[in-house]
Symmetry: C2
Amino acid sequence: MTQALDRNLQTQPLDVPSAIVQRRAIKNFKPDAIAPELLRRLVELTVAAPSSWNLQDWRIVLVQDEAQKKALAEAAWNQQQILQAPVTFVFAADPNAWQDREQINQIALETGAWAQQNVDYFNSAIPQFQAMLGDKTREYAVKDAVIAATHLALAAESFGLSSCFMNGWIEDQVKAVIGASDTDLAIAVVVPIGYAADPRGNPGRLPFSNNVFVDRVGTPYEG
Amino acid sequence: MTQALDRNLQTQPLDVPSAIVQRRAIKNFKPDAIAPELLRRLVELTVAAPSSWNLQDWRIVLVQDEAQKKALAEAAWNQQQILQAPVTFVFAADPNAWQDREQINQIALETGAWAQQNVDYFNSAIPQFQAMLGDKTREYAVKDAVIAATHLALAAESFGLSSCFMNGWIEDQVKAVIGASDTDLAIAVVVPIGYAADPRGNPGRLPFSNNVFVDRVGTPYEG
């Protein structure tokens, strides 16, 4: 553990551009554990992500237990990376989180980031906004969870760890594994974290002309 | 321009943990332009994000024209940051992108990251997976666009720029502004990028006990 900590927390983490360029979706992990102090730092950096109205509507489950890893892998067509990685983060999203903001308001008032007038505005605006979302309520909660998952992946990369964004799972089965079957939680994304056993190549990117535009779709970004 | 480039691309970008901790949702930007070389670097780092099956199904519109900025702000309840920031990235997502993978396959074969057997597998698996998604097809495309937007926000922060994840807009109006009314594109998130005019405070985060768990929802992560 100390050794793992030494080679991660005590060395300078990668800068953002390097972490972005270096990151690949790793499918094979070494069995090496992640030092508890390093895991804690990853969790801190994950929940430092922004969220709509600062709702922090992600519900994050760190799957570490061997039986739980096996059950989660079965919910994901037995993809081995979940069995191999020391921890897999399941990012769920609570579409009802906006209804309970008391503690969020209290903390923001204490930090001084929000004044009472901000809280009053939010108390008026948030229910209106959420009502307007209608059937997109789930999508908006999922977006917040995905932002947090991306913070995790890049933070992990910066400390010498690897990750894999996984969409290949059966939602109802994942919910059963994490004990959320009787809730409205949406499963957003599943992210194993660990030390890469095998490198993976970069499949490359489309030219900007395919999907980056200026002012209107169809006007190419010449860069 | 040269001056702006000097203070960004020629200095060491921030490491990932520092960029994450430092980032705030900035609502007021200076009128300072972003050097073209720096903007290009941001676009490169944005599309370096991972996506489901490497579909790169984001459609990114850099809104810079004054009239377009005004129209986009109007679609977003006149939030001033769109008018103030030199560029606002509109992240749209194409739920039909999976149907056209020829160029993606070709590039990945050329880089050597994929072999023909990978392409054959994808050609079989992707249509099945997308059919299974059903009414979640849109959500899955939106997730990819949000991962890319998060890459942008952290890359911008690392170069001394600021950002703001915006959900407050009328989707049909944003689509009209970017000329996408007659498409299936979903608007995922809108992100102004520029130099912060005013700092913003950190509203803080909930204790881990609220939303971080081990193995099952409800089992607290003690950290």
